[in-house]
Every structure is written in C-alpha cells, then in structure tokens.
C-alpha cells in the first residue's frame, strides 16, 4: 500500500496557483541542506525525538526525519534550528 497523500492547505494551493513562495505565503517550513554536513530548518515547531543517528523535527503539517551519524543540534531558537553531522537521508512524513 502506498503512503497516504497529505492534503494541501488552502494557503498552499493559493500560493501554488499564484506562483508565490509557499514558505512566505503559507508559512511552510523551509528545509535547507548544505552538502551532507548541515541541515537548516526554518519555521520549525520543535524537536520530536533526538538521537545521534536519528532526529525528528516537527515542521507544521510535516515531520522532517533526519538520519545519519554523529548528528548534533548545532543551534536552535524560536525560528530555526541547525543539525550538523554526517547526514545520510532526509525524509518528509
């Protein structure tokens, strides 16, 4: 069975129709991966689980799952957080 498709919000649909950046219009999280050493998440909602090999980040209607080795929460504040270490994969759930 395939994964359940997430329903898009009205704001997302509107941003898509008007070709506007969804992170600015709909408040969607912005995930930025730099090589395999840094992952920056803006507009996060906190950490759900933290382990040096697996980090789960709440990002509104999404959950960002980062897997890798020696993962470390480099910095974190209300707006953004930074994961450093050897990142093997990033999954959205």
């Amino acid at each position: 069975m395939g994964k359940k498709t997430r329903r898009r919000s009205a704001a997302e649909l509107l941003a898509g129709a008007l070709q506007l950046p969804a992170d600015a219009v709909a408040g969607m999280p912005r995930v930025e991966l730099v090589g395999d050493g840094q992952l920056r998440v803006e507009r996060h909602r906190g950490i759900l689980a933290y382990d040096p090999t697996d980090v789960h980040i709440a990002a509104g209607r999404l959950t960002v799952r980062v897997r890798g080795l020696g993962l470390e929460l480099g910095t974190m504040n209300r707006q953004e957080l930074l994961i450093t270490g050897r990142i093997a994969s990033v999954e959205l759930e």
Partner: protein, 393 residues
C-alpha cells in the same frame, strides 16, 4: 569578529537530566532562549551551551518541568573573570596595567613639525616648547587652539598652524605666509644710477631721459637714466618748453670687472688630544636630566665635551646620555697652502655670486700669492650684468 564578540559575552555549558529532554529544548526555543552544541549522552543525559546572560532563564525554564540542569563550566570573558575572582593580585595587576596604558598613552612622546620651508623646525619647536608642547606634556591638558594663536603671533612668517594631538604623537602642521611685495611709488621721481663701474653694452629706456650711450664708460654712482624729461622746442621757437619729472625706468647692461680678495695666515693653532678623558652618565627622561652620582669636577684646562645618546631602537622619551670630556693641548702648525687656497677660492666665488648671477660671469681668474705670513687669493672676474639701480631724488 563574531567569535570575539561571543567570547566577550561569555557562555556556559549545561548538563540536563530528566525525561523527554527534547521537550525542554522546545520550551527554551519557544521562549527564544538560544543554545548550541546540544549532545545526547545516552539515557536522559544531555549537554548544551548557552550564553552567559541566558543561563538564569534556562534554569528557570527547567524548574517548570521534570528536568534538572547543572552548570558544567563557564567560558569566555565572564568565565575567565569568574575563575580568577579570588586572584586579587592578578586582577589588580591587570587593572593597573590597563590604567597605566590608558593614562601614559595620553602623554606626548613625539612632536612632529611639517609644512615649513624657510622657518627652521627648531624655531617652531622652541616656541611650542615655551608653551608646554614638548615630550612629556599631558595631551588633554594642552589648549592647542590658544597655543597655535600665540605661536603665530610670535612667528609672523607663518600664516597658519594646526596642532593635532593623537595619542602620544603631536603633529604640528604649518603654512608659511607669502611676503608682501614692496610697492613702487610711481609718482615719486627717481633716477637710475650705476651700481658698478663698467662699459655700457645695451640700454633700454622705458621712462626718463637717457644720459649715457652704448660703449660709454661709467663709474659707480653715475646717473644712467635721468628723472627730468626735457620737452624739445619746435623749430623757430625761442622760448623754453620746460619738461617734467618722472620715475625713471629701464634696463642698462654693462661689462663689469670685479676684484675680490681674501687672506688666511699660513700658521694656525690646532688641537692635539692628550688621550685623557672622563665620562659622566645621566638619564634623560621626558626632557629632564637625572645625573648619576659620580665625580663632577673636571681637572683639564682645555677639553672638548662630546655627548652621546643611547636610546631604544623604537622611539621613547628615555635615553642614557654619556658626556665625555676629552683633554687637548693647542699646538701651532703650518696650514696646507693648497687646501687653504681652495677654501679661499670657494669663499671668493660665493662672494662673486652674490654680486652677479653665475650666467652673467664671462671669465674668472684667480691669483695666489704669499705675503707677510699670509696666503692671499685675488679673484678677477669679468661679467656682463644689469648695473642700473633706482635711486629716488
């Protein structure tokens, strides 16, 4: 720069224990309490770093949940101060050192003068020194504007002065004034007379009555161009038309001959050092001299005093001064005639250059002779030069 700013702000390393540590970090993030270097050490034990000022808020946040936080270590400048809080002597030494650097750097160590061309730097420095601008002066205590005004009044050759004290350097910028030209009084009658005797080679009269002709020999003081212009009477007119007084102007060139003499005795006294000398040491500090305890009297009748300064390779107002008194005895000796003659020729040539430009000199001859113990040098020069000079009636 950022790291330096963070170091000054300081940081603390925390140890967190308790269930669901992630929730603690989410709570801190919601309260905008930043942290970094979060590590999970297995089980429910975490470590992280936060800024020095945030630490009390993080501790308060931990009390709202099932967490306990402990301080592992302090870093940065506040941490350094915290570690050294019982080392009073070290802290006092650092504070005194900072205060000494801050205070001593306000004293003037160097005075630099620039922008002067004809006024000697020493003259300007001595005027400044008389008003307190010298090595050792306290910079903020100098009223540079007032001092600048006073020095300008004392030195009328200067038209502008700016004194800038930057740290230990006092920069003095000056501008020299342009001398006021001598105004000619056109209304006052004047002749043009000969400065030197000679044979006229050319005469151009701009104003006045020409009294000499080309090829004529004139003596010094002879009038060349007169101030009285006589109006010519018309033919068949018996009366006198009179004339008018003017300020004579024109250029008169002539061949001139100059004879200059100089003499020097063929014997003279010379210094012969006996080899005996005495040295005295002193310390020069901010323009003051501190003499070391030693014998001060000099038993020599005749001696030369030679001062030598031993200073650091970098500029400091401190130096060791060695004053050497070297005994000599006067001894008569013969003067080298050739060298003496060369010196006299140089002196005579300088005197000739003061009489006329080098380009006007046509020929120069020297005659050397010895007479009555004197070496005499005579310069014979032929020139072509302007000889006219204005003399008012």
């Amino acid at each position: 720069m950022r790291r330096a700013a963070n170091w000054v702000r300081g940081w603390v390393e925390l140890e967190l224990s308790g269930e669901a540590g992630e929730e603690f970090f989410n709570l801190c993030a919601r309260q905008n309490l930043g942290f970094w270097a979060v590590r999970k050490h297995g089980g429910d034990r975490w470590t992280c770093r936060t800024s020095f000022l945030t630490w009390p808020k993080v501790r308060a946040a931990a009390r709202t949940g099932p967490w306990s936080v402990g301080l592992l270590r302090r870093g940065g400048l506040p941490g350094l101060v915290w570690r050294l809080r019982y080392r009073w002597a070290l802290l006092a030494g650092a504070a005194i050192c900072l205060a000494a650097v801050g205070t001593l750097s306000r004293f003037v160590l160097t005075v630099r003068v620039s922008g002067n061309q004809s006024v000697p730097t020493g003259t300007i420095l001595s005027q400044l020194r008389a008003r307190g601008v010298k090595p050792g002066a306290f910079g903020p205590g100098l009223d540079v504007r007032q001092i600048g005004h006073e020095v300008l009044l004392e030195l009328p050759q200067l038209s502008w002065m700016s004194i800038n004290v930057r740290g230990t350097v006092c920069e003095v910028l000056v501008r020299e004034g342009t001398p006021r030209p001598e105004l000619m009084e056109e209304d006052k009658p004047a002749h043009i007379v000969a400065r030197y005797p000679g044979i006229i080679t050319r005469i151009d009269v701009t104003r006045g009555e020409q009294l000499v002709r080309r090829g004529q020999t004139v003596a010094a003081g002879d009038t060349l161009i007169g101030s009285w212009v006589d109006f010519k009477e018309p033919e068949y007119y018996d009366g006198d038309m009179g004339g008018m007084l003017v300020r004579a102007a024109g250029r008169v060139r002539a061949r001139t001959w100059h004879t200059l003499r100089a003499a020097i005795p063929l014997t003279g006294d010379a210094k012969v050092f006996t080899g005996r000398e005495t040295s005295r040491w002193s310390l020069e500090f901010f323009g003051h001299s501190v003499k070391f305890p030693q014998r001060t009297s000099i038993s020599y009748d005749r001696y030369d005093k030679i001062a030598t300064y031993y200073a650091a390779p970098f500029r400091l107002p401190v130096a060791l001064r060695r004053e050497t008194c070297r005994e000599y005895a006067p001894q008569s000796g013969a003067v080298d005639p050739q060298r003496a003659a060369e010196a006299l020729k140089g002196e005579l040539r300088q005197r000739l250059d003061a009489l006329c430009d080098a380009s006007e000199v046509r020929r120069v001859d020297y005659k050397t002779e010895t007479r009555e113990g004197l070496l005499m040098v005579t310069l014979l020069a032929e020139c072509e030069q302007d000889i006219g000079v204005t003399v008012e009636d």
